[in-house]
């Protein structure tokens, strides 16, 4: 599939206009923690504690707010089991999985080329 910028413009109007939905969604999923949380969930369903450990360096506050944003966007589902101790599971929705199908090749490319891109040491 060859995608051109012109095509994007045609389908979605203006990507370059401030405050358009495309920019908002991009801000959510391309945010520092958004990518990493989505990435972690690509593996499969994870619990709160597992996510914390998986996404190294994220604070509880940021994990909570990132998850809430992605849930509101319909990319992630939260399932809570009223047990003791409480158990809550997070997983990608169909939409989220569709998204990650497009995101993974990008992340993989970045992972492969990261060392040659980042000036040594920085």
């Amino acid at each position: 599939m060859v995608v051109s910028l012109a095509e994007i413009r045609r389908t979605s109007g203006e990507v370059f206009v401030e405050g358009c939905p495309t920019r908002v969604v991009l801000d959510h999923i391309m945010s520092k923690w958004g990518v990493l949380v989505l990435l972690a969930l690509t593996d499969g369903t994870l619990r709160w504690g597992e996510l914390r450990r998986e996404v190294q360096g994220i604070s509880e506050k940021m994990l909570a707010s990132t998850l809430r944003t992605l849930e509101a966007d319909g990319l992630v589902v939260r399932t809570s089991y009223p047990e003791v101790p409480p158990r809550v599971e997070y997983a990608l929705t169909d939409l989220g999985r569709e998204l990650m199908e497009r995101m993974l090749p990008l992340v993989e490319w970045v992972a492969v080329h990261a060392e040659e891109i980042v000036p040594a040491g920085a």
Copy 2:
């Protein structure tokens, strides 16, 4: 090409470790203005003024610093012609074009689904 998270882990070590090159590069290219500048340059070579107009809402300061970051990463080339008035052109490098090949499908998908993702009004 099916890419799994496990594969990414294998090729690049830990995406989830703080301060690793992959996270740094992701921060550059997935930043608010980084994506939009790269996107604008996908069309072809652009001059400073054209970029400003294309990427609606970017300030001169942010445009300058975004371009400097992307140039340092080897994703964008700056060519200046010592004319009067000065003329400077920005374009993607081969690396940048490779990157955008992976980024465009993602952005296109987001553009198509943005309206259904963002809760009406937000």
